[in-house]
């Protein structure tokens, strides 16, 4: 089974800072409650 998330989040600023960024790698094993990404 699979869970797909689709969501709006702030884009990174012109300097690439701020906004939402993923903090995971493709293929990484993750558990409930661990961050996929952070604004």
């Amino acid at each position: 089974s699979t869970v797909v998330l689709v969501f709006e989040a702030p884009a990174p600023g012109p300097d690439g800072k701020g906004g939402f960024r993923f903090t995971v790698e493709r293929g990484q094993y993750i558990k409930v409650g661990e961050a996929l990404g952070v604004v």
Binding site: T2, V3, V6, F22, V32, L36
Partner: protein, 419 residues
């Protein structure tokens, strides 16, 4: 027969060369005609989603997957003899890598069959929730198969470059004329001492909904879903929101589901803090993430952020396996499979979470949606088709203030069941 077979004389004749050439030419012409007619038909015919790809996929699509899944579920609900349960579940745990030390029940005999063991809970405290306010946490245990930004035109990359459209996955965007009141405005109007009218729409989307309009009394604001909190706390977000009994419910996923006494306050605080419904200031992007749960994983899913679920769309599709292998070979797999789309909003704008079923886990449960029935052999196609291929339910009645079901980060939302 033997006599006639042995005694009949066999005579051989040569075929005239011309006749041979004529037969080859005719078959060539016929083949060319059939290929040109196929391409022309395909050109003007609407491109149907037909599962193409590897030959294994073609074999899969001929199987009665839903019936297989349904009876797989019935089989797994047969109670096991008590003496078989411990060795049986230990074998399952060994094969699929289940961490038995985290399983909610220490005595494995309390799980009567594999279906109950599959839908087990975890021990308290084994899944701490990332406390950062801007963190989007994983809704389930599993492997991050895919993540990134939704391309222009709403294309989401599946695996290995395969893409599918967002509209096909989630259904068309909710009607733009969403009349749900802007809850942040409601709260502010209330603070200015103005009267506030709230509408609550009961029933499922598409049915004759009852619009109920009433003036929100002070009590209602102070006591939504059993919460007794003051409005300033809702706006300031400080910690004085508590439930009627005064204790702050701990953020712990092992709870069957967060007692709703703290749900509305938690989400309400987030609601009032961010530029909630008009989306955050500045540019916004659309992101996606795909988490794949293996058979041995904990199969309940939780809320990734503080958000409000406004509506649910049930697409009763097929039940292909969603293994990474098949995901990389079957284009549009997620738009083919049975799935339940939860649509709503969080403090930065739109938020959606879509559990996608598969052959062995055809049943998807949403704790706050008793009406949802998935993987049923007798699917109400007419209703779903009348609404663009899905059956929709609107949760506006759940909390008049927030316009939907408030789900704080980490709260158990539901899960996948065998069959």
């Amino acid at each position: 027969a033997r006599h006639s077979w042995n005694d009949t004389k066999v005579e051989w004749y040569t075929i005239p060369v011309g006749l041979g050439i004529l037969v080859v030419a005719l078959s060539h012409l016929r083949k060319r005609d059939s290929s040109t007619s196929a391409t022309s038909a395909a050109a003007n015919e609407e491109k149907l989603i037909r599962p193409m790809g590897a030959w294994q996929v073609q074999v899969l699509s001929t199987l009665p997957l839903k019936a297989l899944s349904y009876y797989w579920g019935v089989f797994n609900e047969i109670p096991l003899p008590t003496f078989l349960r411990v060795p049986g579940f230990k074998l399952y745990a060994w094969i699929f890598g289940v961490n038995l030390s985290e399983v909610g029940e220490d005595d494995l005999r309390s799980y009567r069959n594999l279906a109950e063991f599959f839908y087990r809970r975890l021990k308290p405290g084994v899944r701490p929730i990332d406390p950062r306010p801007g963190a989007v946490v994983s809704p389930a245990d599993g492997r991050v198969l895919q993540f990134g930004e939704v391309h222009a035109g709403g294309l989401v990359e599946q695996v290995k470059g395969m893409t599918y459209s967002l509209d096909a996955l989630l259904g068309a965007p909710a009607s733009g004329t969403d009349t749900s009141p802007n809850p942040a405005e409601l709260v502010k109007r209330k603070l200015e001492g103005k009267s506030v009218e709230t509408q609550a729409r009961y029933g499922k989307g598409g049915d004759a909904d009852r619009e109920v309009t009433h003036v929100a009394s002070d009590e209602e604001f102070a006591n939504v879903n059993g919460i007794s909190y003051t409005l300033p706390s809702l706006l300031s977000g400080d910690k004085d929101a508590h439930n009627a009994s005064g204790d702050e419910t701990p953020q712990d996923v092992s709870l069957p589901q967060h007692t709703t006494t703290s749900a509305v306050a938690t989400v309400g605080r987030d609601l009032a803090r961010g530029s909630w419904w008009s989306g955050s200031s500045g540019d916004k992007r659309l992101y996606f993430a795909v988490v794949y749960l293996a058979p041995g994983d904990y199969h309940r899913f939780h809320s990734p952020v503080n958000w409000v679920v406004e509506r649910r769309r049930h697409f009763a599709g097929e039940l292909y396996s969603v293994s990474p292998w098949l995901q990389s070979r079957l284009p549009g797999l997620f738009t083919l499979n049975e799935r339940v789309v939860l649509l709503g909003r969080w403090k930065y704008g739109m938020f959606s979470m879509t559990p996608v079923g598969a052959t062995n886990v055809g049943s998807i449960k949403i704790n706050f949606d008793r009406e949802l029935r998935t993987n049923s052999l007798t699917h109400d196609a007419t209703k779903a088709d009348s609404e663009g291929g899905y059956a929709e339910a609107v949760y506006r009645g759940a909390s008049a203030l927030l316009g939907g079901h408030p789900v704080p980060k980490g709260m158990e939302i539901g899960g996948f069941n065998l069959g």
